[in-house]
Symmetry: C2
Subunit: 264 residues, 2 copies
């Protein structure tokens, strides 16, 4: 396989829930040259649907506790409605999108999380050692992949999986074949020095600066797992990790906006 750039871009619920933002994003996403994978989260629709159906939702540490009924809902909403809506919208823009989950083509295998005190239900950990590049490369040769945050256990069980984790696993798994740029888009402009000031974006963080920022207590708690994941991705061969706003996609891709996390 010849190397080339691959963009793995994760969008969060704030983009999915806003038709105007979403259309703008998809227009610009479809214009990115080269191979690309869009990983989407869920947005509010799953929670709304669960509410209408009277199914209670529990969250622990920002992760949904997934019982069988909730799994059914997230599979419907994420892999069905959201995934296919994104695919159809990309096709309308001339981008040959193919919607997938980890079960499709056996692309991503996970196992149910075991925890001493909390039953996370069908929330899972991805098995990196079951990642097979050739399966992804075959599909990427002709398609832009759109991945819903659902995996499987190879025993017939679908599993709800954190979309940030999926994006990271794809990036790590594919960097042996591609120069991978991993972009996490979220509601902020990037990693902020002052969480209340959107203009305080830190443009570049390397390991030494990260240590310094943490020691000074300048990293907002919610950002710590994102940054830890970013460095883990870089340590596993990912070329670049960028965190920023979906509405600035073009500038994020160029490295002119958001926070770029690097290893040197």
């Amino acid at each position: 396989m010849s190397r080339g750039d691959l963009y793995v871009i994760k969008i969060g619920g704030n983009v999915i829930d806003d038709p105007g933002k979403l259309n703008w994003f998809l227009e610009h996403f479809s214009n990115i040259e080269g191979k690309k994978i869009l990983v989407h989260g869920g947005g509010k629709l799953a929670t709304e649907l669960a509410g209408k159906l009277g199914i209670e939702q529990q969250m622990v540490d920002g992760r949904r506790i997934t019982d069988a009924e909730t799994l059914k809902i997230v599979t419907m909403v994420y892999a069905g409605y959201i995934n296919k809506t994104l695919v159809a919208k990309l096709q309308a823009r001339g981008c040959n999108a193919l919607g997938i989950t980890g079960a499709d083509g056996n692309l991503m295998v996970a196992k149910k999380r075991e925890h001493a005190s909390i039953d996370y239900g069908y929330v899972v950990d991805v098995l990196s050692n079951r990642f097979t590049i050739i399966r992804w490369a075959n599909l990427l040769n002709s398609h832009t992949l759109v991945m819903a945050p659902i995996t499987h256990d190879c025993r017939g069980q679908l599993l709800n999986t954190n979309a940030d984790t999926i994006a990271q696993e794809i990036a790590k798994g594919l960097c042996r074949a591609y120069d991978v740029n991993l972009i996490y888009s979220f509601e902020k402009s990037g990693v902020l020095l002052d969480v209340n000031d959107e203009y305080s974006v830190i443009n570049r963080i390397n390991p030494a600066y990260y240590t310094e920022l943490k020691q000074k207590g300048l990293i907002f708690a919610g950002m710590l797992p994102k940054l830890d994941n970013a460095f883990e991705a870089l340590n596993n061969g990912v070329k670049k990790v960028i965190i920023g706003k979906a509405e600035e996609l073009d500038e994020l891709v160029k490295g002119n906006a958001g926070t770029t996390i690097v290893n040197d």
Copy 2:
């Protein structure tokens, strides 16, 4: 492309709604040698979900009238829950399934049906002239395809599409590259001479016999569109069309059960 057998098999709601039947069917489906495509309908889940959410369902001539809310539900249920459940169950049986809709990979394009007196909503007609073999063949080289009855119009709109029609369009479209066997499985053992007698299966129907059966009024009204579609498929190059019970899949494939429709 080298020719080879391709099985296009449609399963109806009666199989999807019955976990025991479904598991048996998938076990035997995964054992069929060679390339295969599973086309699934919806089952009761979409109707149940619409009921729980208070969305009224209208049917005209056995076809669901699809408004925007109903389209959302069928996309969730068909392309999400049912499609991914089938894919995960096939993966568990060592069958490398990939779930698709017509929007994915731009595989099947349709347009909204125009009708003088009835607004069918998002129910559609498939545009056969937009069928591209190479897109299907690329995916079929490494995967068993599992298709939900959802297509798109290339302008960003998803469309609810009759699963029988989808199976027929796939069979017709791919018979230029494969020897296509089209199997419609449903709740009866085949085309029956006496609709109340499951043992009165007609083993073989050719055009002359079909004309005779129709003239004698021996074809149950519900079977007429299925048989008309079968002959249309044969006239378009499909090798064989078989109609019968999903529970007899192995024998259907061998031509030892159900009704085989042939052109001579």
